[in-house]
Symmetry: C2
Subunit: 234 residues, 2 copies
């Protein structure tokens, strides 16, 4: 399948590698490829410059957002939460019309007035905006009414999303959205990643809970000092 991943962060790279290994044709979207490739610094989270990542991966193509999206059958949104709505809106509802858009972004708003002690990035959580009465995924769906938005992946580190076997494989991941075929596409993708317990949380407003779970996820991760799985037992 032709799949576009929007965003060049650590999470996007996990999906790029996994999807390539599964035989998909993957393009990575960024605002301006020249700027992305010109970066030479490793970020505070330890993510290497994108050019370094790309150099060893001949199957991957880096394109501007709209070009990456235009040729794709399925789109994965990993644009950071503060910029996602503006960047996706700029691509245009016509380009995204009818396409499945899997959104895994968290709407973090980094406030420079709140100290965030490194190397424990979530010592104090950044603010979420929107929160509680709206979600980033609902904002995206409203901005792109003809796209088929599905919230998925967001309740886990993307390293775990692409490798559920890391914790024995029998744990749970979630999808939510207003388009059954988009949820099916996300579910199929998750099955191809190795997930067996995929829980449909219903309409897209369940994305509120999935995004707000970021606090709990980070608190558990900090308490354990690393990644973990979550199994819904019923």
């Amino acid at each position: 399948m032709k799949i576009a991943i929007l965003g060049t962060g650590a999470g996007a790279r996990c999906h790029a590698d996994k999807l390539t290994s599964l035989g998909h044709e993957v393009t990575v979207g960024t605002r301006d490829p020249q700027t992305t490739l010109a970066r030479t610094e490793t970020d505070p989270m330890g993510t290497a410059p994108f050019a370094e990542f790309l150099s060893g991966r001949k199957g991957l193509t880096l394109l501007p957002f709209a070009e990456a999206t235009a040729g794709a059958e399925l789109i994965i949104n990993g644009i950071d939460g503060a910029n996602a709505v503006a960047a996706l809106t700029a691509i245009g509802n016509d380009v995204l019309a009818g396409k499945v858009l899997i959104d895994y972004a968290v709407p973090y708003r980094y406030n420079p007035d709140i100290p965030r002690p490194w190397p424990t990035p979530w010592g104090v959580m950044p603010a979420l905006d929107p929160v509680d009465s709206d979600s980033l995924s609902e904002q995206i769906q409203r901005a792109l009414p003809d796209a088929k938005v599905v919230k998925a992946f967001v309740t886990q580190e993307q390293e775990t999303v692409v490798d559920p076997a890391e914790f024995g494989g029998d744990h749970t991941i979630f999808v939510a959205g207003d388009h059954p075929e988009a949820k099916q596409a996300a579910t199929d993708l998750l099955r191809s990643y190795g997930w067996t317990d995929i829980l449909d949380l219903g309409a897209l407003y369940a994305a509120r809970g999935m995004e707000m779970y970021a606090h709990m996820h980070c608190a558990i991760g900090l308490a354990l000092g690393g990644r973990f799985g979550v199994k819904v037992i019923r």
Copy 2:
């Protein structure tokens, strides 16, 4: 142990019965016992009038908040989130000084302008206030600086908190707080309830995530049509 449960809702009743069965001396606190006992209606969630509950339980005593608290070694806060800070503040920092206060309330603000379709109570979630940058537990700790507040129980239905064996017993519950001895007291109580996997999430600000998880918890519960356990797999 002498334990006070503040609040007369379904959750408080779960703890009253469990603690009584474990041999504790339990008082239930309410704003005004006469008013509580005068209610004759079953609420929309199916919770019977408190007088009916109390009539079959001779070991339980219903007292005004401050009186219930004064005689107790351990206090469990099940006052609804919208009223908890005011009610606890009225009891007084001096009465609560040095005492362990286990808070399991969610700061729901019921907005009559948002339709909440019965009998699916969480079809649209009530708003949370505070949310994201503060938590109800932190508000309570600031209002009662000499109490030892610990957030616990809140990530589960209280029916499950008092009976973890319901889902095989091997699932996870959380505590957070700034007083190690309060977290130990909550942990000991949870062990006596049958919990074996009790995860310390650190300082009281982790209560933000535990309260905000209410959305996710309700979405999962709605998707499954009932209660469930959550196991952190590591």
